[in-house]
Amino acid sequence: MMRILGVLALLTALYAGLVGTYLDNAPAHEPASKTQERIQGNLVDVANIQGRYGVIALGAALVIITGGIDLSIGAVVGCSAVLFGVLMQSGIHPFVAVPLVVLCGAVVGLGNGLLITQLKLQPFLVTLCGMFVYRGAARLLAGTVSRSQTIEMQPDFSSALQSVRYFLVGKNIKGELEFPAEFILLLVLAGVVGFFLHRTAYGRYWYAIGHNELAAKYAGVNVSRQRVAVYVICSALSALAGVLLFLDMPSIQSDSGGQYLELYAILGAVLGGCSLRGGEGTAVGMVLGAMVLPVLENLVSIRGLKSDVIPAVIGLTLLVGTIVDEFIRRRSRLNR
């Protein structure tokens, strides 16, 4: 509870900073309604990115709750985006390609999970290796993919692709963002994840495994199966995020698409209350945690800071946030 309040406070501060900066930067003679419109538009842009980051943060968080880690998220996002493009270019209808890509993601997760549970390899190493493998696989598939190129090759898909784009990322035919579809998608997925996590036996098993794998095993939990399941979910969500990335971006480069996203996902999960030691985290927290980074990025950029310093600012802010959070956590533990 305290952790959620902490991340809420952080978000409030960031949003206040964002709006304040907009008001400061507003041209002197701009009417208030126009400024408000611009702010709203910007917040919707940000929300869309929050949605995409949130989708992968949910997956990362489930893995982290069971005491694991997935470093391959970013590579799976990139590879899935490329795969999505390549599939459609080779004539597979977008409505089929979306589930197919998600399925491929699930297979990747299955591989990670089996390596970790059956060969008893360390999650960090398995997914670190996976990160390179999927990045390489993306390059084998294609150098870059883009919507315009896809439509050029398969003109029939134009309208199907546009409707997928509209419903998943909220952009109309002119490329304008009409509504934060990715954020809505996040809320729906978070609802599903939250249901599993907090209302079903599976969630109990995941928490139990994260806190004490042996006790879970001795209580009759099929630990391997549950572990595999969370890796499958995580990679499937990453693949879905890859689809979103493809639909949202003008083009995807196979060597950089989705870069660092695993770290963003892990950060989102941790800010949202997951402990890297496992066993902790809530669905609401995950959504809030994932919302932090896009606001921060946006704030840094509209403050006019050079884009080169963005990572450093993000890193430092998050470090401060983590420190504050740890203090809050210790306090709340003492007061119990």
């Binding site: 098993y205 139990a208 042996l214 006790a215 095993k217 001795y218 009759g220 099929n222 066993g279």
Partner: protein, 510 residues
């Protein structure tokens, strides 16, 4: 008093110690005196404040009120480091050795002799020489010095801890449950070392639940109850009964509630037929657990009792042989198979295998029962809270609520939660591995009454225990294990301590 102790300055003295933790008064007005070259045992139920007192004496905690004197001078240790420097060393319940380092590295951890200079280059030669000496003092061969600690048996680890303490010019050695994980032989060795330390002028303060050992080894006993002094016993009045009376504040009549059921040993419920398991002995093992009986399983630590139970429970894979339930073969390749068949295990190490300690009492009670509480729409909250309420009442688990983290309960109540989570499944066979380890006297009596009642209702109970009193007091039939095999079986009328020990140590059946 006749020994002329009165004028002697006590080595260590604690006056009116108070210690509060959030929500609990751990100690209130506790006084303790430890003379030079004396072995003082602290006994009391779990939660009596013994460990807290030890930690205060060793500087781990600061008292809220009261004072500690060392050789007549008031001292205040800000942390165990300072206490160690003053010659007061605590050896924790859980050993604090770096398992991955060698014995020598551990002996000098944190105070390595160096060749001088800022680089702190280790003086390997001096370490080796001193290590040999320290190991000799605790009766370990010099060859152990270069061995990694993780390869040592628990008894030797304990001795390494003591050797480490000796290296700090220890004057007060405090030990929390030093023998809880030791075999008989290791325990004897430890007491020989304690005798030698005493002869060398070291004062020893130790906590033990094994009262028989206290009778044998302590010069004096201080009893704590509910965070207060409950009494002292001088050497000649240290008896099992006296200690128990002070610990519980009442005479324990009917400690073992055993109702001698006539005609115990109904049909075999669980049969182990010629089984061999991975990591076990080559020869197969056969055993029956019968309805309505408590089958006691004795043996020294390392006799393979826990391993056998783990094989039956599906933790260790079976290599050959067959398990039968009510005469029908069952396949058990993981715990969930055993549980589905109605075979459940209360494991030896509660915090490692029995409970998810940071989670709540309710979470733990539900964990193996979620298949019965759930539906397509998730876990049924109402059914779940009914289950929590029922078992908390039924087993009289002392907890503020089902939401309390189970790790914060006392050992006895934690153990009751483990029983509760299994009994909620209405099992056929209850495997108990050290059913009352780390459980205080009061809760023990309740658990014994429960086990007896369950057996009375036809449950097959297989009780592995290293506690001789428990074995003799509770079992209808005893199987003694030696080196992974059944060394012999004793019916209730032939059951006595000598017979058990003879079989357990590889002797012939009487």
């Amino acid at each position: 008093m006749g020994l002329g102790r009165a004028p002697m300055t006590p080595r260590l003295r604690a006056n009116g110690i108070d210690k509060r933790f959030p929500g609990v008064v751990a100690l209130s007005g506790v006084t303790l005196t430890l003379h030079p070259a004396e072995v003082l045992a602290i006994v009391g139920e779990n939660g009596a404040g013994k460990s807290t007192l030890m930690k205060i004496l060793a500087g781990v905690y600061q008292p809220d009120a009261g004072s500690v004197e060392l050789d007549g001078h008031p001292v205040r240790f800000d942390g165990p480091r300072e206490a160690t420097r003053a010659g007061v060393v605590l050896i924790h319940q859980e050993l604090n050795l770096a398992e991955n380092l060698t014995v020598t590295d551990n002996l000098f951890l944190g105070r390595e002799p160096t060749t001088g200079g800022g680089l702190r280059v280790l003086n390997r030669r001096e370490m080796a020489a001193r290590a040999t000496g320290l190991l000799a003092e605790v009766g370990l061969p010099a060859s152990r010095a270069s061995v990694r600690v993780e390869t040592l048996p628990p008894g030797e680890k304990q001795l390494v801890e003591i050797a480490r303490a000796l290296g700090t010019a220890v004057r007060v050695l405090i030990m929390d449950e030093p023998t809880s994980s030791l075999t008989q032989k290791e325990t004897e060795r430890l007491y020989a070392v304690i005798d030698r330390l005493k002869a060398g002028g070291v004062s020893v303060l130790y906590i033990s639940h094994r009262l028989a050992e206290v009778v044998q080894c302590a010069d004096r006993v201080t009893v704590l109850r509910d965070g207060k002094n409950a009494g002292e016993l001088e050497k000649r009045s240290i008896t099992h009964d006296n200690m128990v009376r002070l610990m519980v504040g009442r005479d324990l009549t009917q400690f073992y509630p055993k109702i001698h059921r006539p005609g115990v040993g109904g049909a075999a419920v669980l049969t182990l037929d010629q089984i061999r398991y991975r990591g076990g002995p080559d020869a197969p093992l056969t055993l029956d657990v019968r309805a309505g009986e408590i089958l006691g399983m004795a043996g020294l630590v390392g006799a393979g009792r826990t391993e056998l139970s783990e094989a039956v429970f599906g933790v260790r894979p079976l290599v050959s042989g067959e398990l039968r339930l009510d005469g029908l073969p069952i396949r058990v390749s993981r715990p969930s198979d055993a549980i589905a068949a109605g075979v459940v295990l209360v494991p030896e190490d509660r915090r490692l295998h029995g409970l998810v300690a940071p989670e709540s009492v309710g979470f733990n009670l539900s964990l193996p029962n979620l298949d019965r509480l759930g539906s397509l729409f998730g876990v049924r909250r109402r059914k779940e809270s009914d289950l929590h309420r029922y078992w908390i009442d039924r087993l009289r688990i002392k907890t503020p609520s089902a939401a309390q983290p189970v790790g914060l309960l006392s050992g006895g109540n934690q153990q009751k939660v483990v029983y509760g989570k299994w009994l909620a499944r209405d099992p056929r066979v209850l495997i108990l591995d050290e059913p009352t380890r780390g459980v205080d006297v009061g809760a023990k009596a309740e658990i014994y009454a429960l086990i007896d009642e369950l057996a009375g209702r036809g449950l097959a109970v297989w009780m592995i225990t290293s506690d001789m009193e428990e074995l003799l007091g509770m079992s209808d039939r005893v199987v003694v294990m030696h080196e992974g095999q059944v060394a012999g079986e004793l019916s209730r009328d032939r059951l006595n301590e000598e017979a058990v020990m003879r079989l357990a140590t590889g002797g012939e059946e009487p």
